[in-house]
């Protein structure tokens, strides 16, 4: 019918809306029509009981009339009526044919075809409906079909035989649709069921019953069009100059149609969003507002595609709407949005608070909206060039997002107070995790400002139980509270992440020992490989931050040791998700590449890689140069390498024929290393101090002083190692002036070296000199013999260990024997052996607490 009228109306711009679109949204329209139909039907029945004349004033009038005109009524003076009639007959025939097919399908139990035909039937019947009355044959068909379906279902329960997949799918589809569909025709079906024959006959009389002959067709035409407008998209509102108000009653229907079109192709999302914006204006009750806002926000999220982030203005709008939603929920405490609430099926009524209901429950998940909003912001930050002002602009949106997160948290806290709602702990955990994600990497002052601003947005009467308002000023305490909450209320990944965030924050704020102890007690380094990639990245970041913290505290050994795994790999960028590595020979599928790109952190979260490298190399220098000097004098000591990366760079640097003045960080460190190795500690200090990047550290001057001190000491050690063979005695005074150290400090350093058996010397207290012992240098043969004996005992040990591993179950016998053997040989020797070993490794063991193992790169790429 509508097509016919549209054809006639040449002035309407609606004709521009192409057919295709019409078809895609056909189903929705259909349903809507059906729904409308059903309401009209009710009206009609009332009319029938009262008076014929009352009909035209009713709301359903227009449609009623049009159909009337197109049906067999002869009063209509339009010439098109005859045409319509013939078309209608044709459609009736089609309908009959479909019904027959369905009946056949029923006979052979072919649900696949029934399902198809049923859909077709529904489409056809829409066009045939007259005055809200579906054709009788249709009613008969669907009534029978329902019976048959119930029967099949009952049978299904008894027989163990299963339907095949297509059949089952068809069956389920029909089952769902038929329930919904039949509701609309319930009264007719009931009538049919009561007395099927009477029903089939009576309709002939009933059909012409309403006689709205007085109304002109033109009027009907206009109102029909208006009705059509209402369902079809309001395109004409402006053009007509008369805004057609969206009535609050129609909101639910619109929403339903929009929700159902979600995810389909060719839906005009922008159009839908516009509709909903309008709807939002007219929505009156909180329930409707909530529904509209929910749908609107989801629709906006749909705008973003898999690769691109959602447009900026929509993000902002979504943010505003989410804020509105949350404040709405806050003011109307009897409305709650919870997951797993039942869908409100009746579109004509707005749910009201029943006498024994405490809440109106709206299905939906606030936390998912917030998460999505957060993700979208991250994605947009990933795609913006970080060096532009656009990035900074975008970053300011983070504050708004943080507000939303805070409000969301408050919302969940309030709803969780009521145990009857059964809000899962997980939602709260998720939202707290999000909040934590936004603060853990920021300095305390920034967090403080962020927190205070967010709390300003919240009315002063509200306070959070988990993170009281008073905490806003104390970032450390806030992080602690959030992490503790997660730690005690969650498990698995969230728990691990909470812990890592806290460690990161502690490390960032120079709480090295706390951070280290937490890292060690968490035992994360043992099972980090089992976590997902994002968590592994967080672990790597935390590890690096702990290393940097150790460096700031002057703990060179710990810093080097901690950073070793990340920086030694040469894949810092990848391990910290701060850039994709170009891999020459590896084959990365586009899919993997895309995933990796998605994982990248936004720029403002980055850890400065150059600073990191600088710290790592400086630490390596301070450890490696004395070691090289120690090894240098006796080439046969088992070669120990602390940092392969550093060694490689040093070798490369030494191979260069001509070395110019240092340009980058690496050059500086390398030249400093050279100077240090030559005992020129002042020059080394100068090189290190002239590295510009130290200024990025919070207290650059202190760090430089610390480094100078370290270089002095290590310089002294290097000097002693290098020149010991050439001296008999050395005055402590001389050393002290050479290295500008206190003589007591020099004495302490020398004592330490003597005690650790690194230096064959002794102090003479009377003359205050270092006396080097002679005759300790080994001949080639002697040192080889020593090395051989070392290897032999190592071999035995390995064998023992292997056997132990092999015979784990029955190893008791062996270990008992081992114990006895230990007793026989006497502990003294054993102790001696142990002593020698620890003496040699003293430097390596000095920290005692090493945590190693950055999450492996292979896992990252996977």
């Amino acid at each position: 019918m509508s097509r016919f009228f549209r054809g006639g109306d040449d002035s309407s711009s609606e004709s521009s809306s192409d057919e295709e679109e019409l078809y895609t949204s056909e189903e929705e329209e259909e349903e809507e029509q059906e729904q409308e139909e059903s309401s009209e039907e009710e009206d009609e029945e009332e009319e029938e009981s009262s008076d014929d004349e009352a009909g035209p004033e009713k709301k359903g009038l227009s449609r009623f009339l049009v159909d009337q005109a197109s049906s067999e009524s002869e009063e209509s003076d339009v010439e098109g009526a005859t045409k319509v009639k013939s078309a209608k007959d044709k459609r009736f025939d089609e309908l009959e044919a479909t019904i027959t097919t369905i009946q056949n399908g029923q006979k052979i139990n072919d649900w696949g075809s029934i399902s198809n035909e049923f859909d077709k039937l529904n489409r056809q019947v829409v066009k045939l409906q007259d005055g809200g009355k579906a054709p009788k044959s249709y009613i008969k068909c669907i009534a029978e079909l329902e019976d048959f379906m119930n029967e099949t279902q009952a049978k299904q329960k008894v027989t163990p035989k299963k339907m095949n997949a297509t059949m089952a799918r068809g069956f389920n589809a029909v089952k769902q649709r038929i329930k919904k569909n039949n509701k609309d025709y319930q009264s007719q079906i009931d009538a049919f069921r009561k007395d099927s024959d009477a029903f089939m006959e009576s309709d002939e009389e009933e059909a012409p019953l309403p006689k709205p002959s007085k109304v002109k067709f033109a009027e009907a035409f206009v109102s029909e069009e208006a009705a059509e407008d209402e369902e079809k998209g309001f395109a004409r509102v402006d053009k007509r100059g008369k805004a057609i108000p969206f009535s609050p009653e129609s909101i639910q229907k619109h929403l339903r149609s929009i929700v159902e079109s979600r995810g389909r192709k060719n839906t005009d999302r922008a159009e839908q969003i516009r509709i909903m914006e309008e709807l939002n204006k007219v929505a009156e009750t909180p329930y409707l507002k909530i529904r509209v806002l929910q749908t609107l926000v989801s629709a906006r999220f749909d705008l973003g595609s898999a690769t691109a982030s959602m447009p900026l203005e929509h993000w902002k709008a979504a943010e505003r709407e989410l804020a509105a939603l949350l404040s709405l929920l806050e003011t109307h405490k009897n409305h709650v949005v919870i997951e797993g609430a039942e869908e409100w099926e009746d579109d004509d009524k707005v749910p009201v608070l029943g006498p024994d209901d405490k809440y109106i429950k709206v299905p939906g998940s606030v936390v998912s909206y917030i998460e999505r909003l957060d993700d979208e912001l991250t994605r947009s930050l990933q795609s913006i060039d970080p060096h532009t002002s656009e990035y900074i602009d975008r970053l300011t949106d983070e504050a708004d997002l943080y507000n939303i997160i805070l409000q969301g948290l408050l919302y969940y806290e309030t709803v969780r107070k009521d145990a009857s709602l059964e809000i899962p702990q997980e939602s709260l955990n998720r939202i707290i995790q999000r909040r934590l994600d936004h603060v853990y990497f920021k300095p305390a002052q920034v967090v403080k400002i962020l927190e205070e601003n967010s709390w300003k947005q919240v009315s002063s009467s509200i306070d959070s139980a988990i993170t009281p308002r008073a905490l806003a000023g104390d970032a450390g305490q806030l992080i602690h509270t959030l992490c503790n909450y997660l730690f005690s209320n969650s498990e698995g990944i969230i728990r691990a992440r909470a812990m890592l965030c806290q460690i990161y924050f502690l490390a960032l704020h120079d709480e090295y020992y706390k951070a280290r102890d937490m890292m060690l007690t968490s035992h994360l380094q043992e099972n980090i490989a089992n976590f997902d990639v994002a968590t592994q990245i967080l672990y790597n970041r935390t590890l690096v931050q702990v290393g940097l913290c150790a460096f700031r505290r002057g703990l060179v050994y710990d810093a080097q040791n901690t950073l070793q795994d990340i920086c030694g790999s040469g894949r810092q960028k990848e391990l910290l998700a701060q850039g994709v590595m170009m891999q020459r020979y590896s084959q990365v599928t586009p899919e993997q590449e895309r995933l990796e790109k998605q994982r990248q952190l936004p720029f403002h979260m980055h850890i400065n890689l150059e600073l990191l490298e600088c710290v790592y190399l400086t630490c390596s220098m301070l450890l490696e140069i004395p070691l090289l000097a120690q090894i240098g004098s006796s080439p046969d000591i088992k070669k120990r390498v602390i940092s392969k990366t550093y060694r490689r760079m040093l070798e490369y640097h030494e191979r260069q024929i001509f070395t110019g003045p240092p340009e980058n960080t690496r050059d500086h460190v390398m030249q400093a290393s050279k100077a240090l190795a030559a005992g020129e500690w002042k020059k080394a200090t100068h090189f290190i101090h002239s590295i510009k990047i130290w200024d990025l550290m919070p207290s650059a001057e202190e760090i430089k002083t610390m480094l100078a001190k370290q270089i002095q000491e290590e310089g002294l050690r290097t000097y002693l190692f290098t020149y010991a063979p050439f001296y008999d005695t050395l005055a402590v005074e001389t050393l002290s002036t050479m290295f500008e150290l206190d003589s007591s400090k020099v004495a302490a350093v020398v004592s330490k070296m003597i005690s650790h058996e690194e230096l064959a010397a002794a102090l003479d207290q009377v003359t205050n000199t270092v006396i080097f012992r002679k005759g300790v240098e080994l001949s080639r043969l002697q040192s080889l013999a020593l090395a051989l004996s070392d290897k032999a005992s190592a071999l035995i040990e390995t064998n023992e260990r292997t056997l132990e591993v092999r015979t784990q179950g029955s190893a008791n016998a062996f270990s008992r024997k081992d114990g006895r053997q230990g007793g026989q040989r006497g502990g003294g020797q054993r102790g001696g052996r142990g002593g020698a070993r620890t003496g040699g490794n003293a430097q390596r063991q000095a920290g005692g607490t090493q945590f190693t193992g950055g999450a492996l790169g292979a896992a990252v790429r996977g």
Binding site: Q782, A785, S789, A792, S793, K817, G827, G835, T849
Partner: protein, 447 residues
């Protein structure tokens, strides 16, 4: 719980008072001796007068608060009178006493039968090691019910609460023989440990200690937190035998250096390091096995270093200065402080002299290891002795430790001789055990 140390009274020593840290991990009855000791510290040694009235009162209050919950009614009543200046204790104490008394009688009645049974030889001889069978046997032959067994436990508990430790220990022992309730047995074991400690019955305290340790290691392995807490408590409790019973020293040190316990100390109660360090240092001459002692010393040094950021007192600082910084003057200064601290510590009082002596040895040893020539005068100043005494002391030392050193009297120096370890000797050392170990290995493989 305990009195807050006032700086005026104890000076800087008070700041190292561990009372507050120790108390939460000890039982009420075990804290009592510590409080008594603090009270004793306030008495002037010569006159017996109380030096600081306010503080003494505080301690009395603490005592009262501590014991209020126990059933030692008479003593508590007296304390109350003292505190309030009353002559006659209020009626409530009498009431309570009466109640306790009737309770005691009730339990005694309930348990009289089983106690009597357990004293009969013919019954005891029939008991086997299987607890369930024992209970069955008693049920069958003598109508012993499980309630009667549990009454033993309750009686033991009550007697302990009354301060009647010896009897309590006996009751708990009997209960443990019969009961099959694992939790209660564990509690009974702790109870017995406390009883034995309080009755200074160290031998059996050590037995109980072993039992508690086994329970912790086996039963609680699924619950790391409970394990940690129990271990912490155990570590604190065994301080009593550690410093009061010579034979307990070796096994307890061994316990402390056990991986689980050393981790507990590091994680939960770093202040125990003071006791650990003192115990190891004073153990110097006594240890049967110098190798083990060396290893323990090394462990102490390592842990002191690791925990330096968390816990420091003169004792750990002494260790730090001597073995990590090689700052002998600082070590000397800390030693003086440490002595003071030791003298005001309940556990360490008796070992203060011993500690100072051993610490001096350690300083000297370490000093000699590094120096080849030391002036006698300087050394005597360092050791805090006059020159003659120092000379004697060194001579003794050289004789005792078989140090390779000589005194050059004319120059007034001690000359150390550090023979470089011969490379041949080193090779021999390294390959010494090889043959034997290989033999063991091949035997194990052949099996």
């Amino acid at each position: 719980m305990a009195s807050a140390p006032t700086p005026a009274a104890g000076g800087n020593v008070a700041e190292y008072d561990l009372m507050l840290k120790l108390a939460p991990h000890l039982d009420r009855h075990l804290i009592f001796p510590l409080l008594e000791f603090s009270a004793g510290q306030l008495l002037d040694e010569e006159t017996g007068d109380v030096k600081d009235e306010a503080k003494a009162r505080e301690i009395n209050q603490a005592k009262y608060a501590l014991l209020k919950k126990t059933d030692m009614t008479d003593y508590v009543a007296n304390l109350y009178c003292d505190l309030e200046g009353l002559n006659e204790p209020p009626a409530e104490f009498a009431d309570k006493k009466q109640k306790v008394f009737s309770q005691l009688q009730k339990y005694e009645q309930e348990t009289s039968k089983i106690i009597e049974l357990l004293e009969r030889d013919d019954v005891v001889n029939n008991l086997r090691s299987d607890k369930v069978a024992n209970l069955e046997f008693l049920k069958r032959e003598h109508d012993v019910t499980i309630e009667m067994v549990n009454a033993l436990y309750d009686l033991g508990n009550l007697q302990y609460s009354c301060g009647n430790y010896a009897d309590a220990s006996e009751m708990l022992y009997r209960f443990r023989v019969l009961s099959t309730d694992n939790d209660k047995v564990a509690f009974a074991t702790w109870g017995r440990l406390a009883c034995e400690i309080l009755t200074m019955n160290w031998e059996s305290a050590m037995e109980e200690l072993q039992k508690v340790r086994e329970t912790i290691d086996s039963k609680l392995s699924q619950n790391p937190l409970a394990q940690l807490q129990h271990r912490t408590a155990l570590i604190h409790w065994v301080l009593f035998p550690l410093f009061n019973f010579e034979k307990a020293r070796e096994p307890i040190l061994e316990l402390f250096f056990n991986a689980g316990y050393i981790n507990t100390i590091q994680a939960n109660c770093a202040w125990i390091l003071r006791y650990l360090a003192v115990a190891v240092i004073t153990n110097r001459g006594r240890a049967k096995n110098p190798g083990i002692h060396q290893k323990q010393m090394k462990d102490v040094v390592r842990i002191v270093k690791q925990e330096a950021y968390e816990y420091q007192d003169p004792v750990t600082r002494f260790v730090h200065a001597l073995y990590l910084d090689f700052d002998f003057e600082e070590a000397q200064r800390q030693l003086v402080l440490a002595e003071e601290v030791l003298r005001s510590d309940f556990f360490l009082l008796a070992h203060a002299d011993d500690f100072v002596d051993s610490a001096r040895h350690l300083i000297f040893e370490s000093y000699c290891k590094i120096h080849s020539r030391i002036s006698l005068k300087d050394l005597s100043a360092r050791l805090g002795l006059n020159t003659d005494d120092a000379e004697k002391w060194i001579v003794n030392l050289i004789r005792d430790t078989r140090l390779d050193a000589k005194i050059d009297y004319k120059e007034g120096t001690v000359v150390m001789n550090h023979p470089p370890s011969s490379v041949y000797q080193q090779v021999i050392e390294k390959t010494k055990g090889g043959f034997f170990r290989t033999q063991v290995l091949s035997a194990a493989v052949a099996k």
